[in-house]
Amino acid sequence: MFGAVRRLATAAASAQVSRLQDVVIVGGGPAGLSLLAALKSSHKTRHLKCTLVEGGSLDNIRTFGEDPPENYTNRVVSLTPQSVEFMQERIGSWQYINQDRIKFYSSIVAYDSQEKDARIQFDASMTDGNGVLAVMCENINIQSLLLSRIDEIGDSTILDNTKVLDIVHPNKPEINHDLTAEPQTTSPGLDWPIVQLSNGESIQTRLLVGADGYNSPVRKFSGIESRGWQYGRFGVVATIKLQYEDYRSIGWQRFLTTGPLAILPLTEDNATIVWSSTPELSDILLKVTPEIFVHLVNAAMTLDEVDLNYIYGVLKKDPTDTSVLEEIEWRMSKIKLSELEEKYPLPVSEVIDKSRARFPLKMSHADTYVAPRVALIGDAAHTIHPLAGQGLNMGQSDVAGLVEALEKGVERGMDIGSTLVLESYVSNTWPANSMLLGVCDKLHKIFSTDFYPLVLLRGIGMKSLNMLDVVKDLMVKSMAR
């Protein structure tokens, strides 16, 4: 009878037991999905038991794959050829991409609003490679292709609509001196973190990967500090239609003092804009009528700052004031038509309804990407200013680095959660990311000033860099590799 009671007691205790997994990825964004797909595609790590936990629903991603919406969504990213290659070769997921919704573009023109002649044009159409500088792709398209690949491979668990309630270190085991007791399935000696989910499950994992965004609970659990600052700017995104299809496939970026405004091409006559603006300006941009917004974007790409500031002043008092349209027309008439066609982007003709949104811009970098049994990838590790379009690409290179480190660990028969394995991930990716973050931060700071000597210097810098084709080709090649 005592035996029966003891068995009942241990059964009750084992109801608390967690599932054991090798890798738990928290976060179903592009970084997390990419890591799962990569781990499952690589024959070295394919045997690892993986689970992905996502707080939101992945259904809209699945429906996107089957039945994509007519208009582009407003979160669009520029993928470098490196990221594309990673998705093609290592993950093998590029075959699932919705080809009609991606746009390969071959050059980018960046110009200054303070100096008329200061511009840089990067042209990859002549380089070997396939003449492609980058690919514009919707976020949701990327997630959908990764999810399709994961579904195709199977053998992994995806828990969506499941929030992470808590992450705990396992308690120190009480030493049970009764040698005849049933052995516990959760081995008390494990130092693996336990993830407690909102669906009642708890998972104990060898390696916990945080791909859960800027306010990462995984990073908080690991005690890794993340340092950086808010830029005090908002990025306003919108999907627009140009007047007609631009056969040149050029991306345009103008550095205004509030922040850069970029118009990036999509298929046919669609395009997407990202405008880093001050809080007041982003407020105005979201409040103006679509008609005024369209002309405001055109004005912001062609007119002088003094005109733009005047227009913002008028719109601040009344966001529906259409007298600004006459002002814009008058000032645009001062620019010669031939210059307008050659040097400035195609005018925008309409903005898609409800596609305007804004998000705050910040820079942050975690002190390190790993802790015992924890690794960070994507926005959990670093956030960057969108002016160079590198945020998601850095996440993909993180995934590549982490997969490489884990493959090496598995090959050598090591415990993949130990820092011995994970350190090589940090040393390969942290410095490069730090450099990119720093460069984008300095570019933002240099271009947001209107202090005349600095304006002159940066104008000279841009003009001379534009003339040195050799240097520009090197830069393009280093991005394409």
């Binding site: 005109d307 500031n309 005047y310």
Partner: protein
Amino acid sequence: MYRLSKLSHAQRTFFLAATASILGSMIFSENNTLATKMEKGQLHYKDPNAIFNKLTSEDNLYFKRGKPQYPGHVPLFLHEKILMVLGSSIGSYFHPERNEFIVGLGESTAISPVLRSLQTQMLSDPVGRQLLRERPRITSTSLNLEYLRLLPENSIGNTYIKWLDREGVSPDTRVPVRFIEDEELAYIYQRYRECHDFYHAVTGLPIIIEGEIAVKVFEFMNIGIPMSGLGALFAPLRLKRSQKERLYNIYYPWAFRSGLNSKPLINVYWENILTKDVNEFRAEMGIEQPPDLRNLRKEYFEKLKKAKKV
């Protein structure tokens, strides 16, 4: 390179000439010039528009005269502009009564950065923008003088016509701008020229040389046209001692104070405020009225006469 100094003069000359010709022949060799042409697309392709586009944006404006941007525009080369500055500054110093020197000096010294900053100032102000859009011109026919005489006592229009009568001048048609590059900047300069009489009227300064200098300093502190600044520096050197004293002690301090403290005069739409009260206008703009120059001179001459008599 220091070994060059150890060579004799003849050897040095030879060495430098040889280097120059070798490098020159490398840079300007036939292959390289053909390559430059090919890069520009002029080698293998004949541009059918070449007959029509005499001047493209690629052309170097240092060697080819630019196209006129507005009727009456005379595009100048850089060396021509420099000569104009030198010539008209000397001419206007010795013969300020001849208009062409003053005009030439004004237009050649009103360089792009100055006019551009004025343009920025005008574009940031709603009235300034209105001015730039509507482009009003002040000519002897555009202002109806009879109508101005009928306006109330203290209005700006009436002050203006009273000043014109007191000085015995008519609103002369100011010389059209010819040498300024951009057409909007040319209009801004023209507007500055045409409003000059209004500045006289509002401050009450007469057209004698002292008065003109005082108005010029006032304009320079407020608007920033370089010619008025040059006038303020050099023109008093030719005056008599009593005139200089009056200028330096009374009118220069007034001009500095008033010019800096008042609102930009270039943004005033004079044609629309002719019926406005002049004292109210002065208070709004922050313009101080200087002591009446003609009265000061009268008092001074009377004192002299009395001293001579005694």
